[in-house]
Symmetry: C2
Subunit: 288 residues, 2 copies
């Protein structure tokens, strides 16, 4: 059944066992038969914030179809900032060929440290690109366990130390109680002119502290696919800062996304029919 | 001696044997004792166009210190275009969070062909990045000989065929009689919505034919660090095309460039003193 059928016949919602890709907010409490929701997104923070969803007995599964586009997006933002392409864009808008302005304050990446917080499928791909660009990689993960694509791995408690060494910092964290405020004043104070990229969740960064750090150079440039608040309201100082790139939360979007997410659902549906374990089961306690 | 000394004492120029980093235009004919010029740039087309320079018996050497920054720059331009970061920049300038506009018309790179024309130190590094992003690589070089970082290599006579398959095309060619007009109407006709990047020399592309191809979609986006004419004049249509990124010829610039170029000169000077072969000798017939 489709959403419009449920809205037309209110008795239907109580009989639905499986749902894809999202269950509308107001229907969670009425979904008494729901046993499994396959989300078509990765982040489930908004979903788990719906009244009735966190405590609902249904299994929730998510999809992981965006590592490739997230990697391309993160590196696009990083290289735009380090190679002053955002400066070139502004000169282009004025129709001015100004080699001197465009080439002032460039940053090299070779032999510099790339710090990646959240070292899963996306983080490790971002690391592979960094390595081929000659960077050294320090990863931050909950366990801090070694990873073949990282020169060093540390736990989140050592993040300020990792940030202090990094030229480029990539945040790829879900929104959980552990990651909110992951980058606050203390962490920004540790940074030495790093480029900070975020495509996880906006809540990982204390936004007003970031604005200060961008002003005084602790953060040299920021590329933000996610913000807090999100959407970023009109008139927010981040919009007009010359060393900030805002991309409105689409790092994971790519041609074929819907088809790929649907394939994940179909493969899981086969597992469900056979009584097998589903892929991408969300741990509600961890929040991802 | 420095340039100001030569200008102060006109007898000096006739006695100079070695010159770094450039010899002013008007002095070439008077530099009768010059035996070696170490340029601090890679491209020598402008230098060889100076009256008296092409036929001068002095050895000319160039430097190759920019493969790393050129690679970062080329990929920054490529990913800006495929990930719509240029669209996001425009939305940011308006202070508007518009996910739909920004995420419309994105391009994926995995399993797509990356075509690189000019497969030297820079081209092969660009290829390595493409491979880690999951692309297949087709290289174009004079000899078309196999290369470990290319899935296929072809000679320049097969370029239209290579362009036809490519999602991303990177031009890294010197300005020579063979490369002028390398991408003309015939080659643009072969392209299927490719992203075209150029950081070699502007003369490789027929500019007015490119403007047409950008308008009708044969070329989906262009990132140009070099143009023809260069500098791009005020009011040129390329300035305001929505699918074009112009960076004013600084892809090779990076912090430490001058020091690195000077080190090349010093190392060559030691070779010169010992009577050894210099590194980076320009072949005047080939023009690079």
């Amino acid at each position: 059944v489709e959403e419009k059928d449920i809205r037309a016949d209110s008795s239907l919602i109580g009989r639905i066992e499986i749902c894809y890709p999202q269950l509308p907010k107001e229907l969670w409490k009425k979904a008494t038969s729901l046993r499994w929701l396959q989300s078509n997104w990765t982040g489930v923070d908004a979903l788990l914030a719906i009244p009735g969803a966190q405590a609902h007995p249904a299994v929730i599964t998510n999809v992981h179809v965006q590592p490739q586009s997230m990697t391309e997006h993160m590196w696009g933002m990083a290289l735009s900032l380090t190679r002053n392409l955002h400066v070139s864009s502004r000169l282009q808008a004025q129709g001015v060929w100004d080699n001197k302005t465009a080439s002032t304050g460039l940053s090299s990446l070779a032999d510099r440290w790339l710090c990646i917080a959240g070292f899963g499928a996306i983080g490790s791909r971002c690391a592979a690109v960094g390595r081929v660009l000659g960077m050294r990689v320090i990863g931050i993960s909950r366990g801090g366990r070694p990873h073949p694509l990282a020169d060093e791995m540390v736990g989140p408690e050592r993040r300020a130390e990792a940030f202090a060494r990094a030229r480029v910092i990539m945040l790829l964290l879900p929104d959980t109680s552990e990651t909110r405020g992951f980058v606050g004043t203390r962490e920004l104070d540790a940074m030495n002119g790093a480029f900070l990229l975020n495509a996880g969740r906006g809540t990982a960064i204390d936004t007003s502290a970031l604005v200060s750090a961008l002003t005084d150079g602790r953060v040299r440039g920021a590329g933000l696919d996610v913000t807090d608040p999100e959407p970023l309201p009109a008139g927010h100082p981040l919009w007009s800062m010359p060393n900030v790139l805002i991309s409105p939360h689409y790092a994971g979007v790519h041609p074929g996304y819907d088809e790929e997410a649907f394939e994940v659902f179909i493969a899981n549906l086969e597992r469900w029919m056979k009584g097998q374990t589903l892929q991408g089961v969300v741990d509600r306690a961890l929040g991802y």
